[in-house]
């Protein structure tokens, strides 16, 4: 910083900002002797949405080459730029980023412990949950893992003698949700798994029964959560005891990965999951004539929940709004301005400690949904025409040769004045402004001395 620009500024300890790169994570540390604020940006987690940029109160964040990254032309590049000079390390970016790509800590304490966040919520109704494998299979973020214990069919069906049966079994693939329970139960059923894709996110392409292995015990029908998906008719069997199947298991969610898109809730055959998304809104597709879903796959690539898909029809692409989190990454990745994301509302995970800053930070959150509070005053900014900064006052003394003789002479002359003025009458004259009279007296005494 040049000296001139420091004029008028208050000095003293200034916060220092240190920068550090660790693999694909960038760290900044704002430090004074009282406080350290550490901001970490995880490139791998960043989606290239603009939530942090929109909410940032100091406009310190700008978007990186999201289009190129979505197109796969560059890799491992930051999708946002953080201007450390503007950044105040307030952590609002951390509070709005539900991808957890930004994390701030105060003297080591994570900001998420302190501040309310824009965040979704999921609740599992354990009474209703079977559980089955479906949510794990469909989750686009691999955030769900299901531990499932389904008894094997052989353990449940006990024949007194030889096992023989006759009947029919029919699986309706239209109705089947591919929860996988029947296949876990019975080896006669095989599911051909695949990657679930929009728009229906079916995790399998087919389900088959090997009728040679089937004894029409009807357990698969019993275990199936969807009515009418499996229909078994047993016409005859040798004597047997069929136990009811008991499913045990638990679902765990990796909160680091889950962004509450709600896909699990959408597919759950028993409505056991309730999800509130972090953001709600609407996607508007425009300029479709410019969209080229074959040559360009940017939006499909970047979508964190893969909810955009090519339709193969005239409308070219579509979005499954049910699971869209309205993060806006697709909008930024689209080179042709086809996608517009309109955010309408957000959900806040309140932290009691943050109550003091609720109003202040809510204003930043409001920017996500385009709400800007009207100021209570008639607000005007006046940009005064720039004036050149005043130069620093420095006195450059050129030839400053002090002459002791001259100074001594001055001293003598001034002292003689002082002496003159120490006389009552002379001083009186000065007070009446009769400087000449004083000087006369001074001259007399001066001469007298000489």
């Amino acid at each position: 910083m040049s000296e001139a620009s420091r004029a008028g500024e208050r000095y003293g300890e200034r916060p220092e900002v240190a920068f550090e790169i660790e693999d694909t994570t960038l760290h900044w540390e704002w430090r004074t002797s009282n406080l350290s604020k550490r901001l970490s940006y995880y490139i791998k987690r960043c989606m290239g949405c603009d939530l942090c940029m929109v909410a940032c109160p100091t406009e310190a964040i700008s978007l990186g080459p999201v289009v190129e990254i979505a197109a796969g032309r560059i890799e491992d590049t930051p999708l946002i730029f953080i201007d450390e000079g503007k950044c105040s390390f307030c952590g609002i970016c951390d509070s709005v980023c539900f991808f957890r790509a930004i994390a701030l800590s105060y003297n080591g304490r994570p900001a998420e412990e302190i501040f309310s966040e824009v965040k979704g919520r999921h609740v599992l109704d354990e009474e209703k949950c079977l559980p089955c494998l479906l949510c794990e299979k469909v989750c686009q973020r691999q955030a769900i893992s299901v531990e499932l214990k389904v008894p094997k069919k052989e353990e449940l069906v006990k024949y007194e003698g030889k096992a023989e049966a006759r009947g029919s079994i029919r699986i309706d693939e239209q109705k089947c949700v591919f929860c996988g329970l029947c296949a876990e139960l019975c080896d006669a059923i095989t599911i051909v798994w695949t990657d679930p894709k929009a728009p229906d996110f079916k995790p399998a392409i087919a389900i088959r029964v090997d009728e040679d292995e089937c004894d029409y015990c009807e357990l698969c029908q019993k275990i199936c959560p969807v009515e009418g998906a499996i229909e078994v008719v047993c016409e005859y069997s040798t004597p047997r005891v069929v136990e009811e199947p008991q499913i045990e298991g638990s679902i765990s969610v990796n909160e680091e990965e889950c962004i509450c898109c709600g896909l699990c809730a959408v597919v759950c055959p028993v409505n056991a999951i309730k999800v509130e998304k972090p953001l709600e809104g609407e996607i508007i597709l425009q300029n479709l004539h410019r969209c080229d879903p074959i040559g360009c796959v940017n939006c499909f690539n970047i979508c964190p929940v893969n909810c955009i898909y090519p339709t193969g029809r005239e409308d070219k692409i579509a979005v499954v709004e049910e699971v869209c989190v309205f993060c806006g990454a697709c909008q930024n990745a689209c080179p042709e301005d086809v996608i517009r994301v309109v955010r309408r509302s957000y959900r806040v995970e309140e932290k009691p400690e943050a109550d003091l800053w609720r109003r202040g930070r809510r204003k930043a959150f409001n920017k996500l949904v385009g709400v800007v509070e009207k100021p209570t005053v008639y607000a005007r900014a006046i940009e005064v025409e720039e004036r050149p900064p005043a130069p620093l006052p420095r006195v450059e003394v050129g030839a400053w040769e002090v002459s002791p003789e001259a100074e001594e002479e001055v001293r003598k002359r001034v002292d003689s004045l002082i002496e003159t003025l120490s006389v009552y009458e002379n001083r009186l004259m000065l007070s009446f402004g009769k400087v000449e009279k004083v000087l006369e007296k001074a001259d007399e005494s001066g001469r007298g001395k000489a």
Binding site: G12, G91, P393, V395
Partner: protein, 805 residues
Amino acid sequence: MVYWLSPSFSSKGVYELAKKTALFICRCGTNIASVVDIEELVDRFSKREDLVVVEDLHLCGDEGLRKIEEVLRNQEVDRVVVAGCTDRLHGELFKSVVERAGLNPGFLKIANIREQCSWVHWMDSERATEKAASLIEMALEAVEHSSETRKAKVPVVRRVLVIGGGVAGITAATNLADAGFEVYLVEKSGFIGGHMAKWDKLFPTFDCSMCILGPLMSELAHKPNVKILALSEVVEVWGSPGNYFARIRVKPRYVDEEKCDGCDRCLDVCPVEVPDEYNYGIGFRKAIVKPFPEAIPIAPYIDMENCIGCQSCVGICEPQAISFEQREMEIVERFGAIIVATGYKPFDPTPLAEYGYGRYANVITAPELERLIHPGGPTEGVLARPSDGRVPKSVCFIQCVGSRSDRPVSRPYCSRVCCTYAMKEAMQIKMSWPDTQVYIIYIDLRAFGKGHEELYRKAAEAGIVFIRGGVEVQEIPESKNLLLRVEDTLSGRVLEIEAELVVLSVGIDHNPDNEQLASVLRIPLDENGFFSEAHPKLRPSDTVRKGIFVAGTCQGPKDINDTVAHAGLAALRCAAFLSEPEVEVELLSPTYDPSQCHKCLLCVRSCDFQAISYQEGKIAVDDLACAGCGACVSVCPTGALELPYINDAEVFAALEAALKNRNERPLVVGFLCNWCGYAAADNAGVKRIPYPTNIRIIKVPCTARINPLFILKAFSLGADGVAVIGCYENDCHYRGGFRKAKSMVNSVKKLLEAIGLDERRLLIESVSASEGEKFAKLISDFIAQLAELGPLGSELGGGGDERSV
């Protein structure tokens, strides 16, 4: 050493020299220590055997104060020097500690090494350290010759609640505190000062508002019997006259007033910017708020509507004064009487569609204009129009906006101030931007106050165009200029004027909070929402309720003069109501030695307060009437009068110390008056405006205190220049003080010329307390000029004998 000036010094034996002096050096966190090398100072002064040297991180903190008291109690110390911030800030605090430790507070001197050293010389640590050392030596020498503070008993203490911290509340509180009453001053906003603090200059004399108000506020804040509660409201009052109870709600400031040292660095780091309501929405402020540097309390507050909790202020605050733990609290206290001084609100012209305020960018109100031309305002004093930031070439004032009208949105009364303030603002525009054409469109000009008609004449002479008539405003969309259609009722013509800026002279509207307060206090409002007085002529400060008084514009429109008079009356009525016990006050009056007196009566003539009289062959000093300016002392030709709180000997001693080494040249001695010159130097410090280190400042109560011999002695000791800096003549806190100083300085200039010195070595100038920039420039220019003139004596031309008389 014997002082040749008044032989009486040694013979009187009053000024016994010090045995041992305690020197306390404050680091003020890094405020001082990051520029001034404290270790070096400690090292240097520790070598002296007559000193006890102590340094501390924050002397004003509890720990620091305890340290001072401990040293004073346990060491054989009889003089004290504190090197730290300006004594205008913590002087009273240190005095009270010194007194507690059993030493007379007169034996304390303060070396200002913050506002007048580290804060302005940050660009050169080495020279700042040298200067600090020099300032400390000056204080050390001065304190050796200092005299005891004298006190007198005057009557005391009951408690008064003053509601509202504008000039009315401040005046009432000051008067009551001086009369020995305990005062609670409750202010709704974050700081006291009210509307007056926003004003740049005041009519009709163009005196600087802050120069009057700043010291008044600071003085009030330091009175031990005054408690200022900002961000506070009176929510409930009960009890009976003489015995009221009030419940006061105090909102959290989130900054500990005790700990904050007023460095304002938190304002720099706060990232939040919101429209600044202090400037009526023009420009921005931070979420941690302090609208002007002189604000009292000195601690900013955090606006939780907008704070985002980033903690940057916490990180930067050295005294760790930020406290998010603060919660709203309520105080219940007993009061004998209550003074209501809730002031006014500028009329909001938005509903008056014909003027386009709120629609047209370049239509502003007069209070907004005042902020624009205020050096501390959003444009730093540049009259910039909102649409493009340009200085307008034509400005049109429209009078009676919202006043004297029967329309339901307007007020029926005359606001009494708008005519004169418009003329004042118009004149100020003319003075600073002579090319700008200024019009005032009025209905009737009411310049009825003292000096107001004269101002009108001056305005007319200055080329301001007055047009009588009604007006309508329309914006020209391309240029954002405004087209005014004026019906000139004098000539009967319709005029069209294109103005680049339109200023609405809005009136004084009642404070909307009055209604609620009226019900809390159970006193009536009038039909316009102002508080009703008991009798418009005989009891204008009383209300119908005994023991509750009104002061200032909360009772009706007033200018500052009338407000202060009204507030004074309220205080007096209040004091009379509460009767009188006793309190101790410091005497600022001179001592008198009849044996020295030649009875020239110059002192009697010099006193503007009739505090000195000649009775029965003797000079008599009225201690309580004396304001302490020292004019009498400096004109006394024999030294019969002496001012104990700043005596001649200490000034000479300070001069000797300042000019002892002269290791930086040119070297200037500055004599600065307490109220404007010294305050402006502090203001430059608060704003961190640098100027060269080559000046040693000696504070005097008034420039009239400067004995011509001080100046001559400075030159005799080798000063290259002497600067006398005081108030503007109209602002003088002792009426004619600066005028007297000016004539004295002119005489001395002639003397200097006569002995062959360049009279430009002696500077006399005026500044106002908020003109830190001007002060810094004055000093920089003066020193640059001296650098050109060359060292003292170089004009003698080879040191010859010829003396030109």
